[in-house]
């Protein structure tokens, strides 16, 4: 449906054809969104193998693309987009899951390589739920906006995107460490190709740097995973990579620290946290618009997600010990990213550095180990996906028109492109954290969480203080950019007759803008389903690092059914943290949190 105008454009008069094609496309887009929203009530109950279906659809789609002749670009575009739309609709079935408990929904578990204990185990819980949905929403948008600029090797591009979607969804739902690692690496190659083939001038340097950074981290993580498995084997006598089994291994303090460092290194590169972030500006600036959108909106989230899902639950002692240190790096990242953003002349680089700052917030929220902080962090991951995704699309739009990203070349654009300016300001405000938009909720929860944090010991005020200054800096650098782009005299000849956004760009941006308002106004729709999983995470984490390591020998915790632990009623502290007021967030909320934490 993306290329209706390609086929009709030649015969009828261009303007009429475009407007008719535009109408058709807009109607189709509304139809897609409508079916997505109505799906849970329309469709039969979700199949139990929903997650496998979610993996299989893009995988088969990728395979299918290979069989379409490369000259049929219109067919390839429509086909790949249709596959992604189908994936989007299927993912709507996730709404059927019961996220009132912390148990994994739609869990599946079957043997893959039995003699080595490698299993195909997948499931979603409150932590990964929204991230999977974010993936299925953003990926088609990323592909859709690409069609404006990608005209060569469309087949390979569509293939890469579909493969990327397999990797991303897979890594979010994998509950077996081996499976996770496979998907983790699988995402790497398509993104490498997307940057390296369709990127800007220094694309190869950026692509290789991205690949090597991530792969180095991943390989170190692999050794850590294998060490863990080897210890499990030594303790229990059998091989397993299942996360549930690995959580039972209680390592000595020294082992925990080493393994945590290996995991944290892999995830910190992906986030990216301050000293290992250098691949990000290169990759973002060189990547094509669609690639930047996916990279910022989803790939970066794997770092944060990895901490929440793997590094911290597996090594609670080490993360308790090193968490505050990482939080310091997170805060450094916030301020460093913000100040770097401020001085950029290149608009895309500006947005790229703002990602470093925003993900610093997410990491701070995670390491605060408070219900508010972690929920805020997960929410902020979604928010960042939405608003930075939108910003990259907007940057792409202006770049296609002017072929420059230098702020000095803009100025007064609000006159020729009023709708564009409006959308840009909305996305900016969302990114800054204006109340009523999504960014505010996430940042506020993270800051209140870190203020109440016990994990960050006596320094929590300092953390919150510096992080808050990051919010102010965000306003400074983003408004600075808005000022230079849209206001002031329209003094460049080339800028006077710029066309405003067309229907395609509008279709791509509309859902994102809708989400910005929706999450900003009704955050509880998202937060409610995260709460049980986060509460469970915290209670396990607290129990984990408080365990006695006095005799400091490895042992195996007794196996427990994960579904029972979900309610965590016996743990008063965790319940108090988890039970958050339903009403608007305010000072009471912070106090309740502070009082609730032990």
């Amino acid at each position: 449906m993306s290329s209706v105008q390609d086929t009709h454009g030649a015969s009828v008069s261009p303007a009429a054809a475009t407007s008719r094609a535009a109408r058709i496309e807009i109607l189709l887009a509304i139809g897609v969104a409508g079916i997505f929203l109505l799906w849970p009530s329309w469709a039969p109950p979700a199949p139990t193998n929903l997650l496998t279906l979610l993996l299989a659809v893009p995988a088969l789609g990728a395979l299918g693309v290979l069989f379409i002749p490369r000259q049929w670009t219109a067919v390839i575009r429509r086909f790949s987009l249709a596959v992604m739309v189908l994936e989007l609709w299927i993912s709507a079935w996730l709404f059927d899951g019961d996220f009132g408990t912390s148990a994994y929904q739609f869990a599946q578990d079957s043997a893959w390589i039995p003699s080595l204990g490698i299993r195909y185990a997948v499931g979603v819980d409150g932590i990964s739920y929204w991230l999977v949905l974010l993936t299925t929403v953003i990926t088609p948008i990323g592909l859709y906006v690409s069609f404006n600029s990608i005209s060569t090797k469309v087949k390979e591009y569509a293939f890469s995107f579909l493969l990327l979607e397999v990797g991303m969804v897979g890594a979010f739902v994998a509950l077996d460490l081996f499976l996770f690692y496979v998907f983790w690496e699988l995402m790497l190659l398509p993104m490498y190709l997307i940057i390296g083939i369709w990127g800007g001038k220094d694309r190869i340097y950026a692509a290789v740097k991205f690949f090597i950074y991530t792969m180095t981290g991943g390989l170190l993580m692999l050794v850590a995973i294998l060490y863990l498995v080897s210890q499990y084997h030594a303790l229990s006598g059998e091989y397993s990579f299942a996360l549930a089994d690995m959580l039972r291994v209680q390592l000595t303090q020294v082992e925990q620290i080493w393994l945590f460092v290996a995991f944290a290194f892999a995830f910190a590169i992906k986030v990216p946290m301050f000293p290992v972030h250098t691949w990000l500006p290169d990759a973002h600036v060189q990547a094509p618009t669609g690639g930047s959108v996916i990279l910022a909106a989803i790939l970066l989230k794997f770092g944060c997600y990895g901490f929440l899902r793997f590094a911290m639950p597996l090594f609670p002692y080490a993360s308790h010990l090193l968490g505050p240190t990482l939080a310091v790096f997170a805060v450094i990242g916030i301020i460093y990213g913000a100040t770097n953003s401020w001085v950029q002349r290149d608009l895309k680089k500006l947005v790229a550095y703002s990602s470093v700052a925003h993900l610093g917030f997410v990491m701070l929220g995670i390491f605060s180990i408070t219900g508010s902080g972690i929920e805020g962090a997960i929410l902020q991951m979604v928010n960042h996906g939405v608003s930075t995704g939108a910003l990259f699309i907007l940057v792409g739009i202006i770049y296609e028109r002017l072929h420059t990203r230098d702020l000095a070349d803009y100025g007064g654009l609000a006159t020729p492109m009023p709708i564009y300016a409006t959308l840009f300001v909305i996305a900016t405000m969302s990114s800054i954290g204006l109340p009523g938009l999504n960014g505010f909720v996430g940042e506020f929860m993270i800051l209140s969480g870190s203020l109440a944090s016990e994990e960050l010991s006596v320094w929590q005020t300092m953390f919150a203080l510096f992080a808050t200054s990051g919010v102010i800096l965000a306003a400074v650098y983003l408004l600075h950019a808005v000022l230079r782009m849209f206001w002031g005299p329209l003094d460049k000849k080339a800028n006077e007759r710029l066309p405003d956004i067309n229907h395609r760009e509008a279709i791509a941006l509309a859902p994102l803008v809708f989400l910005m308002f929706w999450i900003g106004l009704f955050p509880n729709t998202l937060l409610a389903s995260m709460r049980p999983s986060v509460a469970d995470f915290i209670s396990r984490y607290d129990a984990g690092w408080r365990e006695s390591y006095a005799h400091d020998a490895q042992r195996l915790r007794p196996a427990d059914a994960p579904s029972d632990a979900g309610t965590a009623d016996d743990d008063v502290g965790a319940t108090a943290r988890a039970a958050q007021p339903e009403g608007p967030l305010g000072a009471d909320h912070v106090l309740a949190l502070a009082g609730g934490s032990k």
Binding site: Y192, I204, L219, V223, Y227
Partner: protein
């Protein structure tokens, strides 16, 4: 098959190949089209692999003639070796079928040499006696020397062959010297006799001279380390690989290396498999681990700076030898029988996955060039993925597998070897870290191939490589791609194969067969015979 071969059935693959080699010499004189020989030899080698596979269930219990039973093993380890070597050789023959014609050096003796040399490699994988090791190693090597020199008008080819020949002769001499010292120390040339003498300290003819034995072990390690091109004995590798025609390079990289690896494993885990000799601080396991570390570093760092793709692949094969040795060191390091055997299975799986990946990479390189327009440097590959997507995709798949990218065969092999290394515990964990860091280094030069294939366009007026069109090469690429993908996505059956081989070598019951009720009889019977002695293996069973 027992009816047909009688008591020779256990060495049927060897006999078949020997007869086929003789027939081919004869056929060569009559056929016009030498490419048909490629198909013929590939079919023969593939058939031999199938024969070896058909013997799998009965391995270790089949009747065996006393004429060879003292020198050649007939266990699953040997059969696994047969399969790996035959697959590698058959694919090399297919590659040669396209390459030799394209480059106008088509002569029938290429295939005969490959078949005979593979015969040597298979016998080497079975050798259970130092004399047999030497004889079969020379059978393998002489054929390979000739293969390297096959393009006899090219000075580089002759230079490479000469280097390979001279250094190879030194290595053989060193191996022979080591064997002599071992004989002096233990008064035995058969592996089991050596093991017993080393274990008990008594040769049956006076005490074992341990100092002499250790010197002998070191010399054997050096001699065979040369053949698997472990650093610092790798000097010949890049020159010989670069000088040889590419199918011969492929053959050397997969068959010669695997053959030498097989005998290395058998000698070290059967003859020197005693715990004291292997895993004490001064034992050979530490030496192999050190060798692995040096090989990994040298191979990867040297490959990094190459401008010539073939040389890069040569150094990468050195790096992969490091991985094979790493798994071996891990197996030597652990004392627990099951972990040791798992590590050996990992090495075997790695050898098989390396074989198909390397064939795919070299095959991609062959397919990328044609007569007078060969792909030599990275620049020659520029934009090739665009012009010939199938070749580009196959080549990329090959280097991705060599890189260890999931879900390919190479990834699973690498994962398993590293897993075994971590299982070995202690400082071996740091060796695993070194290995993965070196893999990350490796990613750079493998990616460079993909960068040039898909992301760069040739410079204006620069000479470009023109891809050749050959059904032989494409079918080899297709078969190898199938294995690379399948062994990565569904490795379970190959894992079972590797485990079956190494468990029988170690004389432990095969975990996969114990579970299956149908074949449990075999396993228990075998277990009883071997007496559960680590390192005894089927050799003991045959005795």
């Amino acid at each position: 098959m027992i009816a047909l071969f009688g008591e020779w059935v256990a060495v049927a693959p060897l006999i078949l190949l020997a007869i086929a080699g003789l027939v081919m010499l004869l056929v060569d004189a009559f056929v016009e089209d030498h490419a048909q020989l490629a198909l013929f030899s590939a079919a023969i080698l593939g058939g031999t692999a199938l024969v070896a596979w058909s013997l799998w269930d009965g391995a270790g219990t089949l009747p065996v003639t006393p004429l060879v039973s003292d020198f050649l093993a007939t266990d699953r380890f040997a059969l696994f070796g047969d399969i790996t070597l035959c697959v590698g050789a058959a694919l090399s023959c297919l590659l040669a079928g396209g390459y030799l014609r394209e480059h106008k050096i088509e002569r029938g003796e290429f295939y005969v040499l490959v078949v005979w040399s593979t015969f040597g490699a298979m016998a080497l994988g079975r050798a259970t006696d130092l004399l047999a090791v030497f004889v079969t190693l020379e059978t393998l090597s002489l054929g390979t020397y000739a293969l390297v020199a096959f393009r006899r008008h090219s000075p580089r080819s002759v230079e490479g062959a000469m280097k390979y020949f001279l250094l190879g002769s030194f290595a053989s001499a060193i191996l022979l010297f080591g064997a002599a010292l071992l004989y002096g120390a233990t008064v035995h040339t058969d592996f089991v006799g050596i093991r017993d003498a080393l274990r008990s300290g008594d040769t049956g003819d006076g005490p074992t001279d341990m100092r002499l034995a250790i010197l002998g072990i070191a010399l054997v390690l050096i001699g065979l380390g040369f053949k698997v091109s472990a650093a610092p004995f790798h000097m010949w590798t890049p020159d010989a690989y670069e000088g040889a025609n590419t199918p011969a390079t492929t053959y050397m990289a997969v068959v010669v290396k695997t053959g030498a690896l097989l005998v290395l494993v058998r000698i070290f885990f059967v003859a020197f498999g005693d715990e004291v000799v292997a895993s004490e601080g001064s034992g050979w396991a530490s030496a192999v681990a050190g060798l692995a570390a040096i090989t990994l570093v040298v191979g990867n760092i040297a490959a990094l700076v190459q401008k010539n793709v073939k040389r890069m692949l040569a150094y990468s094969s050195i790096a992969h030898a490091g991985f094979l040795l790493l798994g071996m060191a891990a197996a030597g390091q652990v004392e627990e029988g099951r972990l040791k055997t798992e590590a050996l299975s990992a090495v075997l799986f790695y050898a098989l996955s390396y074989t198909v990946s390397k064939v795919l990479a070299f095959g991609g390189l062959i397919a990328a060039g044609s007569h007078g327009k060969e792909a030599v440097t990275y620049e020659d590959l520029a934009g090739l993925g665009r012009r010939r997507p199938l070749v580009g995709a196959a080549f990329s798949l090959g280097v991705l597998s060599l890189m260890g990218f999931p879900p390919t065969a190479g990834f699973f092999g690498k994962y398993w070897v590293i897993s075994a290394t971590v299982d070995a515990g202690g400082w071996m964990v740091w060796l695993a870290v070194l290995a993965v860091l070196m893999s990350a280094v490796g990613a750079y030069y493998y990616l460079k191939v993909i960068v040039f294939l898909f992301m760069k366009q040739p410079e204006a007026n620069a000479p470009v490589a023109v891809p050749m069109r050959s059904g032989y090469v494409m079918s080899a690429l297709f078969i190898a791609s199938y294995f690379v993908v399948f062994m990565g996505v569904a490795p379970a059956s190959y894992v079972r194969l590797a485990q079956g081989a190494s468990y029988q070598l170690a004389g432990l019951p095969d975990p996969n067969e114990v579970a299956a009720p149908g074949s449990s009889e075999d396993a228990t019977e075998h277990d009883g015979e071997a007496g559960g002695e680590a390192g005894a293996g089927a050799v003991a069973a045959i005795d």
